[in-house]
């Protein structure tokens, strides 16, 4: 154990001891988002001596963040959150290795980032990010500690812990109508409470003590001080696969109407004689098998939207074009059978 004196107040607890401190030293935690929740979670992970901490955030600091994102000062406005957070946090504890990733989490970087860490922390403020974090954690079999806020209320839970219920078991499908803090407002102390509870769950998971909030959703109302814990079960019908992950998080999709209005080149990646035959001025046919050798002939500055018979080949074509660094590619929501109806 490093620096015995530094941690003595926590190692004195029989539940922790030197053994627990060694567990903390060996642990690695990735925090997604260095906003309100992140600023509340990170200092406690660092001061308690968690070995490696990663911070993912591509955002910059705004003046309107400062009332709740307490790691930042007036002078930091305009600078990257992940960079400044890591700079401040390093001064708190030299024992901890802090890695800042100044990028937004997306379907392309999530799996490679998550692989390096034991525990993933959801400190984001977008519903779509929660499904991305969930699905990546399910694929990699990692627990993720969730916190979210609506005005004075918070929800805290731990998903995918030891194969337990996931975020999708609680909320199966994404809904984009849900409002974030920047839209409805929030008090700094509400976020601080939620973040402290998340940090507490993280430490419990690492130390193997207490009851982790797996299969349980903790709701807190900071106006009334009421707390409720709701139980929920694993839905074994919900499966996350490499394919579903690719489809939902790695592929940009548009409707035919949008692609047409934006003058996209529409690429049919089926074989020439497949029915229904679809011909239009803006539609070009290059079968998937010939696509790689035809990349150089594709227009450079025009967006491309792909379709096929069922969506499988267009997805493969998408990944292939992406691999070859072709920009502005999309898959159409519609495939050949629907397109014939639209184009009639």
């Amino acid at each position: 154990m490093k620096n015995q004196e530094r941690y003595i107040r926590q190692t004195t607890l029989p539940e922790i001891g030197v053994k627990g401190q060694n567990k903390l030293e060996k642990a690695s935690v990735l925090v997604i988002g260095a906003g309100g929740l992140g600023c509340a979670i990170l200092p406690y992970l660092i001061t308690s001596g968690v070995g490696i901490i990663g911070i993912v955030d591509g955002d910059t600091i705004a003046t309107s963040n400062l009332h709740r994102q307490v790691l930042y000062t007036n002078e930091d406005v305009g600078l990257l959150k992940a960079t400044i957070a890591s700079k401040r946090l390093k001064t708190l504890n030299h024992d901890v290795l802090i890695k800042s990733h100044t990028t937004y989490l997306n379907g392309d970087n999530a799996l490679s980032l998550f692989k390096e860490y034991d525990i993933i922390v959801d400190a984001t403020d977008r519903i779509s990010a929660r499904y991305l974090i969930n699905d990546a954690c399910v694929l990699l079999n990692k627990p993720f500690v969730h916190g979210s806020i609506y005005k004075f209320q918070s929800q805290i839970s731990v998903f995918n812990y030891k194969n337990g219920p996931t975020y999708r078991c609680l909320y199966p499908e994404p809904n984009q109508d849900v409002l974030s803090c920047s839209e409805v407002g929030v008090l700094g102390t509400t976020v601080a409470l939620a973040g402290a509870l998340q940090a507490n769950e993280i430490l419990k998971i690492i130390l193997g003590i207490g009851n982790v909030l797996s299969g349980k959703l903790l709701m807190i109302d900071s106006l009334t001080n009421e707390q409720s814990v709701f139980g929920f079960k694993k839905n074994t019908k919900l499966q996350v696969t490499q394919d579903s992950f690719e489809n939902e998080h790695q592929i940009n999709k548009v409707s035919y109407a949008f692609a047409e209005a934006e003058n996209h080149l529409i690429l049919d990646v089926r074989q020439p004689k497949e029915s229904p035959i679809i011909k239009a001025e803006n539609i070009l046919q290059i079968p998937l098998s010939n696509l790689e050798s035809s990349i150089k002939g594709l227009p450079q500055n025009r967006a491309i939207s792909l379709f096929c018979q069922s969506g499988i080949r267009s997805r493969k074509a998408y990944m292939l074009l992406k691999k070859h660094n072709v920009n502005h590619i999309y898959c159409l929501n519609e495939n050949a059978p629907n397109l014939t109806e639209i184009l009639l």
Binding site: G33, T124, S148, Q153, S182, D221, F230
Partner: protein, 79 residues
């Protein structure tokens, strides 16, 4: 007909304009409750979750009784 005690959380409470109420339903079941919430408050039934006695339910046909503690909640986005 039974008087059911319902608690609302987060955006759901915002839409109903109250944090709790006593409700009388024709049929005391989850599906009737959801139908009522849709009609009365235009709640999006695909995202709300209902808990009976602190357990979130997945079965719409589950019946409700007078002593049950019912809660209606939805996902939060903020952070």
């Amino acid at each position: 007909m039974k008087n059911l005690h319902i608690k609302y959380f987060g955006e759901v409470a915002e839409k109903t304009g109250k944090s709790s109420e006593l409700l009388e339903l024709q049929e005391p079941s989850i599906s009737h409750l959801i139908e009522h919430l849709k009609l009365e408050y235009r709640l999006n039934s695909s995202i709300i979750k209902i808990a009976i006695n602190q357990e979130l339910v997945t079965d719409d046909q589950q019946s409700l009784s007078q002593d049950d503690e019912i809660a209606v909640l939805s996902p939060f986005a903020g952070g």
